[in-house]
Subunit: 426 residues, 2 copies
């Protein structure tokens, strides 16, 4: 029997002093019942909740855990730098080393700027695209997530129409929609945002068509606008480079975050020389953007990225997870899907419009020690072993059998109904 006494106690205390008890993407409000909100420990592939329950974690802190939690080499770099300096009256040498390492790694880029949130990097990209020639229009794919500030947050609360003035929305992967949107912008087109692949919540993921990616580049060039790839979520899980390098398409700007310091707080905007002068025209900054410890962690993370087969390992392990799961679905006659790159799978059921089967499946897997998401893409980390995947598949196999057996009586998730009501109310 799973314990949740301590988690329940913390939730109760949090309800007093945190609006809604929790906020943002790490709130479990939309998760299946019983998911723990609070964690006490993390090591390698495992997270332990405050009640001592251990899970193989397929969310990886929603991305940052690339190499395994508390990776010894990264932690050693953190501790070495911590003994010297962190947040001081100026940056340290690691900032220059990191900018050089990033520019070496990212083919399209000539320069780097570091920040804290992924949304800092995408907002800087927006500002640079506009600062460059004073043009205003920026194309963004419908439903794409590029951060949670007024110009891009996915919910309407506290946002004015003016915050999104001069944004034009297009359908991802549709070259014609992109061209139509550009036509609408006319000679006022400053930039085009694109996720490296379609990774919206509650939807199957879609890899980018090369035709769409090439059209994005061509439209940007025709309009002398900047092409921006938002690699915050996918960076370093598709390529040791900007993700669109695999398609042969180079953006002018790319936004990075999450994985760069393997969990240490750092994000980055990378750009080419076409965007350098505009980057000097904007004033952006933050209290902790120059801190040396996360930069030292990132320098070490990039060394491991360069010198090891972590990426091939992610792909091998991710494929083993995907194929095992799909095989289980076929065997049981359950229409389970796993979409997107194997290193960042989204797992949904066909014919599951209210997500009841997906939620029941994840809940059953969670109770068996495997932490999955029923509505957000998941993440593979490099500490995962074949044995971890075998244990995971033991849990998912049992969870699928549970779904099959209880199919007729599974209710739609209460969390989603509550959320839908909340959104409708405002």
């Amino acid at each position: 029997m799973r314990r949740n006494t301590k988690d329940a106690e913390l939730r109760e205390r949090a309800a007093q002093v945190i609006p809604g008890g929790m906020y943002g993407h790490m709130s479990t409000a939309m998760m299946p019942e019983g998911y723990p909100q609070y964690f006490a420990q993390a090591e390698g592939t495992r997270i332990t909740d405050v009640d001592g329950n251990v899970y193989i974690d397929f969310m990886c802190a929603y991305g940052p855990n690339l190499l395994g939690y508390r990776h010894p080499d990264v932690m050693a770099a953190v501790q070495r730098q911590q003994a010297l300096s962190d947040t001081v009256t100026g940056p340290g040498e690691p900032m220059v080393q990191l900018a050089e390492a990033m520019v070496d790694m990212v083919s399209h880029a000539d320069w780097a700027m570091f920040c804290k949130n992924g949304g800092d990097a995408t907002t800087m990209a927006l500002m640079i695209a506009r600062a460059r020639q004073g043009k205003r229009k920026v194309l963004v794919a419908h439903k794409a997530y590029h951060g949670a500030v007024p110009w891009n947050t996915p919910r309407p609360g506290g946002v004015l129409p003016e915050d999104r003035a001069h944004l034009i929305y297009y359908d991802y992967n549709d070259p014609q929609a992109l061209e139509d949107a550009a036509k609408q912008a006319g000679d006022d087109l400053a930039g085009i945002f694109a996720a490296p692949f379609r990774h919206d919540t509650f939807a199957d993921q879609e890899l980018p068509d090369a035709e769409y990616a090439r059209a994005a580049r061509a439209v940007a060039d025709q309009h002398d606008a900047l092409l921006i790839v938002d690699d915050v979520r996918a960076g370093l899980r598709i390529a040791r480079d900007c993700s669109w390098e695999t398609l042969g398409v180079r953006p002018d700007l790319s936004a990075w975050g999450k994985v760069l310091g393997n969990g240490q707080p750092i994000s980055a905007l990378m750009g080419n020389d076409k965007a350098r002068e505009a980057a000097q025209k904007i004033f952006v900054t933050g209290s902790f953007w120059y801190s040396a410890v996360p930069m030292a962690a990132a320098v070490e993370t990039l060394r491991i990225v360069r010198e090891t087969d972590y990426l091939e390992h992610l792909q091998r392990i991710g494929t083993m997870f995907r194929e095992g799961l799909l095989e289980q679905g076929r065997t049981l006659g359950l229409p389970i899907k796993s979409t997107g790159p194997a290193t960042m799978p989204m797992v949904l059921f066909d014919d599951d419009p209210d997500f009841r089967f997906g939620y029941a499946f994840c809940q059953a897997a969670m109770e068996r020690g495997v932490y999955l998401s029923p509505y957000h893409n998941m993440f593979i980390n490099a500490a995962m072993t074949e044995d971890d995947i075998r244990r995971t598949l033991d849990a998912t196999g049992a969870a699928l059998e549970h779904v099959k057996k209880n199919r007729a009586s599974i209710e739609p998730p209460a969390a989603l109904a509550k959320m839908a009501a909340l959104v409708a109310e405002h």
Copy 2:
């Protein structure tokens, strides 16, 4: 003779891979010549640049260093938490402990939300003020710094007029200007921003008139709008509470940052129950907002804030620095001013319209091992001793004599001319 070989080498490398060589508030582009850009070490009150030059640091990382760099108790808390978890798939217990400690400490507040940048907290305040009743207008003091995103960054590059739609500017400390601005907003007034005191760059600081602060509260109440105190820069250097508590004026929201984790990256928005429901209506988040290490550091920082006389020490040391400096000015017949709270002094010269004397003074102090700013308020930290201030005054005394002796030949600072040209150009 000060060495700067390594700093020069790093600057040269940075010029290749970072736009303009550096960006934001930690760029030394506007500092007097010879100021180091890169630091290698920090301990207590001292920072050591990459060439081994040591300075008594009066910038304190532009605020975060409240208790001394690498404070042993805070670092012990950091290391204890680091051994358990940091950036994971959910928050840890320190998030609840910290929210409780903040709510206990900040009289006006019933809840807390944590983030990374000070600008995250002020942007959340803006969104909550608007989300509450769908009203749009927000009052902001001219020239006040509330962050560096499109709605508030102090330079125009990359910003559209729409980003500032529905902001109305008023003169700080002028109750009539505030009331006029509110009148202009009419029944569309959502919120009023106020710094705890006037701390604009390149200008004498001004403490708030109680009449102005009371007017801000009254106007907010008349309009059923939210009063927001931006305590990101001044927090915990004026009071063990919101800074305006010293005036008997309680805001609905207050933004915090910089000092909370004594250098660990964390900021916060605090609010009362009037703003709680609106806080639940906005969707804001960030990859590293839930990380446990900075929260554990903040829990320990707040314990020290509660249990020690750090604040009285800051005030005593700050007053000793201020009085010593003013005495030196009087003795030498130099019209030096020190404005604002003694814990956050701004030091400028009278009759110094192009800042040439202030720049020459700071440069001479820097060459003597004291790091001051000629255009930004400075910060006292609790590790500073009377002996540090005596050493500082030895350096400032010699620096003032240098200014007096060379008065006729001191040139206006080249950095400011370059900056003015850059701003004019765009």
